[in-house]
Symmetry: C2
Subunit: 252 residues, 2 copies
DNA sequence: GATCATAGTCGTCTCACTGACGATAAACAC
DNA sequence: GTGTTTATCGTCAGTGAGACGACTATGATC
């Protein structure tokens, strides 16, 4: 209970980012290649130290901008324009999670629409969107040599926690729209759910559900045929953030 | 991105605890009186520094034991014996949240059955169970002079976040049983929901719902009349942790 | 231009579950 | 006994989800 300033051990505090997007029907996360020991050459989550005068959320938003150019939204605001949803995920502080010193990492979760190629400090070869399934396939039997090695530090755990958060949160919130561009169709939104949950959903029931939930979607009046087939109405995210009743994730 | 050990600012890392219980039909939190500046004499959440060789969860469990004598459970295990549910809540790291230095606090949420009086380092007058409604009533117009002042630091925000977590989590998990003793009746469990949500629930529908959810409750065979009225069956928590379909919180 | 493939949209039917609420049961206080 | 309290069982109507049929509007192919 004592706050004697000489009595507490010093920690380094970092933010690590789980940046998720949906590309080619797969849930993908941003990974950067480590340029230094430890885990040199291995893939890791983007992140960095929290500065002395910086809030944790500010630090996460700064790192996100540095890695992706994305502008972060406050958690309550639905993703519009070119912004990403950003929220705190959890904090990881095992002694020994970093072999060099005692580091406590405050992980954040960011959800972004499909983006152009990532840039890590301008060096594209050191950053990539990788399917989370691939990043979490630890054993390294995949044919892609680059991702055969598990993520550095405890980042596999952090990524898994972030994915699980995203999977559960799109059930009861309108967060899935954060994966979509400003204007999107019901089918595009459905493909987001299908990619994040890894299941197939009935297009007719999905359409009835999302268009029937007040505040979830607002029609823009336009239509598009970019998915082929019959033209689909365009929507943008409505003001509702909590869905009641929630979307039901098929299970069992 | 650089990990130059001389390039990061040092932080103090603490754990703060939101310890909730249900007493006399009210959701209560453990509060301790601060013995030192800043906020000397004000009520605060229990907490303390994370030690150099300690995991965050270990630190939270240690603080919990020091303040209450409670033995913490792993998050996956339902509360049995004399243990409490413990899970990480969120991390608070505003510069300036502690006027003396840069402190990052990893808040944890603990749920406990109704306990004997708290003990803070053996001094009972410096620890108490207070209704959360009272602790969060910042303005200080209450007639109880002791709680007229808001909680120290950003602890009102932390407490509010913890209460909100508990309120939402008993919807879709069996966590409400963590507020009950090992053996309890359906009526006692219902009073937990009523206290946490601050609503009245229909006893008949509640009974149908909880006894009809597989894995939620297992009858022990015994009965009790400790609540008065007709004897009620005793149950203990079943193995299920996720309730599907969830309990529905009345709203609107 | 007819046909086909693809996606979107509207409807219908059934079943499960909930909320409202009546009725009965088993204890205690008087 | 009578009244009070709490527990427990039943009924009924309304809501919403899953399964799935039917129709529509576009581009691609022959």
């Amino acid at each position: 209970m004592s706050y004697d300033p000489s009595a507490f051990p010093p920690f380094a505090v970092t933010v690590d980012l789980v940046v998720l997007t949906v590309r080619r029907h797969a849930l993908c996360a941003l990974a950067v290649r480590r340029g230094e020991a430890p885990y040199k050459g291995r893939w890791a989550l983007p992140g960095g130290f929290v500065r002395a005068d910086e809030d944790l959320t500010q630090a996460a938003a700064r790192e996100l901008a540095e890695e992706t150019g994305l502008h972060a939204h406050a958690p309550s605001v639905p993703a519009q324009d070119n912004g990403a949803h950003l929220e705190q995920l959890a904090t990881y502080g095992d002694p020994g999670r970093d072999p060099r010193m005692r580091v406590v990492s405050v992980a954040h979760l960011a959800l972004a629409p499909d983006l152009p190629a990532p840039r890590a400090g301008g060096d594209a070869s050191n950053a990539r969107w990788a399917p989370v399934e691939e990043l979490l396939r630890h054993e390294g039997y995949g044919r892609d040599g680059e991702t055969a090695a598990p993520l550095a530090f405890d980042h596999a755990q952090i990524l898994a926690d972030g994915v699980e958060r995203a999977r559960s949160k799109i059930e009861y919130s309108s967060l899935a729209t954060a994966f979509c561009p400003t204007e999107f169709t019901v089918g595009e939104l459905r493909r987001v759910y299908e990619a994040v949950w890894g299941v197939a959903l009935d297009p007719r029931n999905f359409h009835r559900k999302v268009t029937g939930t007040p505040g979830f979607l607002v029609p823009t009046g336009g239509t598009t045929t970019r998915q082929g087939g019959r033209p689909a109405q365009l929507f943008r995210a409505g003001g509702a953030t909590l869905l009641n009743p929630p979307m039901l994730r098929p299970e069992v």
